[in-house]
């Protein structure tokens, strides 16, 4: 009886109401819309790549180092591969790795953050220590030596990126979970004898949905960028076609020095566009959930967009 009384009023409204305005806020936010539109285009391109450019994109189809033309919209590489096909196919690996790394690191971050916040004391101390150590170790050098020792392949790339990427999300999620942990409805759930897992995932987690989403986006951005960096250094799986590998080959084949800008520009612009789109969505999430950043916005923002 008391259990029901204690539990009933708190979670349901606390979860649903902000969520509805959250989704609404995102949809009516211009940054979020732009970001989502760009992402939809890229995801569509990635899915349709085998239809748009059937066959192996890295096969040699034309003369080497051709400038962009009607036949090869983005020209050809020093080997004579079609740059547009490479770029479109590259989105598959890059988006896949980015999403996988993002989801995996956020998941670890959620587990660590929730466990830290819920159990507190010794567990919190230990987990925080590990998190902070991983945060402090310089990421890219760590990536490089991990990748150098592990057998090359896509699995290695993902594993290495998750190992270096989870700590940031764990720290953010922990501090958020801590502040929710101290709320009354969590205390009520504890008193009513709910199991630890249920409190963590059903009571605390839904209330930090927007932070989780922000973290996920940041992790995906990290994953895409770090994969590209790793592959650019030649430490990825050189046989796959991805944006990072395209840039690696562009560098290796001297595209810069021979002036073939069309070889290295597309993949880099794609990475930047995806990262920027995700960052836009992330800022929009921030703006929607943090009234301080939004407060003065309304009148000035419309003015500004009208001027544009």
């Amino acid at each position: 009886m008391t259990t029901a009384l204690l539990k009933q009023p708190t979670p349901a409204p606390a979860v649903r109401k902000p969520n509805r305005s959250f989704v609404h806020g995102l949809i009516s936010n211009k940054k979020a819309l732009t970001g989502m539109a760009v992402m939809v285009i890229f995801i569509a391109l990635a899915l349709l790549a085998p239809v748009l450019f059937p066959g192996d994109p890295s096969r040699i189809t034309a003369m080497a180092s051709l400038e962009p033309s009607a036949e090869h919209w983005l020209g050809t590489t020093a080997k004579g591969q079609d740059v547009l096909a490479l770029t479109v196919h590259g989105s598959r690996s890059s988006l896949f790795v980015g999403l996988t790394v993002g989801v995996a690191s956020t998941f670890i971050g959620i587990l660590v953050g929730l466990a830290s916040a819920y159990f507190g004391k010794f567990i919190d101390e230990a987990l925080s220590l590990v998190t902070n150590v991983f945060l402090l170790l310089p990421g890219l050098p760590l990536l490089v030596i991990l990748a150098a020792f592990l057998p090359p392949g896509l699995g290695t790339v993902i594993l290495v990126l998750v190992v270096t990427g989870w700590a940031g999300s764990a720290r953010v999620l922990r501090s958020q979970a801590l502040s929710i942990r101290s709320k009354d409805f969590v205390a009520a759930a504890v008193v009513s004898g709910e199991r630890a897992g249920r409190i963590m995932f059903r009571e605390i987690l839904p209330n930090m949905a927007s932070i989780v989403m922000g973290t996920l986006l940041a992790c995906v951005i990290y994953g895409i960028g770090a994969q590209a960096g790793l592959e650019f250094l030649g430490l990825g799986d050189v046989s796959t076609v991805s944006w990072g590998n395209n840039l690696f080959w562009a560098g290796n084949e001297g595209a810069l020095l021979t002036g073939s800008w069309w070889v290295f520009v597309p993949s880099g612009v794609c990475i930047a566009l995806v990262a920027f789109a995700l960052a836009l969505i992330n800022y929009a999430v921030d703006e929607v959930t943090n009234p301080r950043l939004r407060k003065i916005k309304t009148p000035k923002d419309t003015e500004r967009s009208a001027a544009k």
Partner: protein, 325 residues
């Protein structure tokens, strides 16, 4: 003081973790990178050098604890073995000849990005919705979305190859003797422009937005209203009241940002063939030079940890709340 000691303990743990990682990696990895390396370089090495390297990298029959203690001892006495790719130079020598360049590049870029970025953030937050606040953040965030190395490639292509304004590789012109002459310093400066510029461009947005967002929060504090009511000059309120209090998160992220700058410097160095530790790290990886790789990783880690410790000391100076605890 207790704060400082706690942080020091933490950094020691972090350093220990990275040494242990270094120790475990070659020993527990599937496959055998170490014997690949030996196969490649056997004929150039003396038997006793091979023996020392085998021990360093764990091709060793002794119990793991003995190896571990040995390894720790070697690290703290600076015996990191002999470089394979630059045989027979000791690893420590290779690193010390190159770390200066990275410090120069990373340091210059970090300081410029942090100072300019924070100033822009202060101005943006002070004039909410003004020109700086509305125009710069989207542009900087967009630039910041580019991979470091790609911007470096672009800068190299545009300013180096097409326009020919700046040299495109190495830290100084080949054949020039390093010396404290104006000619040499100018030459180093010219070689520094493009690599530093790319790092600054990528990282400045983060500084600016971070500062802007904290300062927007500080601006609504009561003491700002109080300062305005007292009739202080706006410039004084902005810098001494608002910015001074919004600075703390920036100082913290200065330490954190260091790791990123090191990573960025690594990639940038590779693009510009800049002879720093990052470029060397890649060479070591390509040449299967595991001792050098490990030495470089430890050095970079140690440098980042040390810098973070210095930032902590600065933090204590800046935030009296930490001192009183």
């Amino acid at each position: 003081m207790r704060f400082i000691l706690r942080r020091l303990g933490f950094y020691l743990i972090a350093f220990w973790a990275s040494i242990t990682l270094n120790f475990l990696l070659p020993r527990f990895m599937p496959g055998d990178p170490v014997s690949r390396m030996f196969a490649r370089s056997q004929d150039r090495m003396q038997p006793e050098q091979i023996e020392a390297l085998r021990k360093l990298l764990g091709v060793d029959d002794r119990p793991i604890w003995e190896q571990y203690i040995d390894y720790m001892h070697n690290v703290f006495t600076g015996q990191m073995g002999v470089s394979i790719s630059r045989f027979p130079t000791p690893v420590t020598e290779v690193i010390s000849s190159q770390i200066g360049w990275t410090l120069l590049l990373g340091g210059t870029a970090l300081v410029i990005a942090a100072v300019v970025g924070n100033l822009l953030g202060i101005l943006a937050a002070w004039r909410r919705g003004g020109a700086i606040d509305s125009a710069l953040p989207p542009v900087l965030v967009f630039i910041g979305s580019f991979p470091y190395f790609w911007l470096a490639m672009g800068a190299l292509y545009l300013f180096g190859v097409v326009l020919g304004w700046f040299p495109i590789r190495h830290a100084f012109t080949d054949g020039l003797e390093p010396a404290f002459t104006w000619e040499f310093i100018g030459d180093v400066g010219a070689h520094l422009v493009l690599p530093a510029l790319t790092i600054v461009l990528v990282s400045i947005g983060g500084w600016m937005l971070g500062m802007r967002n904290t300062m927007i929060a500080t601006n609504s504090e009561d003491y700002i209203t109080m300062a305005e009511a007292k009739g202080l000059r706006p410039g004084r309120i902005m810098l001494r009241y608002a910015a001074r209090n919004a600075m703390l998160p920036s100082v913290t992220s200065f330490g954190m940002g260091l790791g990123f700058v090191v990573g960025g410097a690594l990639l940038t160095e590779v693009v510009f063939a800049y002879p720093g530790v990052g470029y060397q790290l890649l060479n070591a990886v390509q040449g299967l030079d595991y001792p050098l790789m490990q030495g470089l990783f430890l050095t970079i880690t140690a440098a980042v940890l040390l810098a973070n410790f210095l930032v902590d000391i600065l933090y204590v100076r800046l935030d009296p709340r930490v001192r009183s605890n």
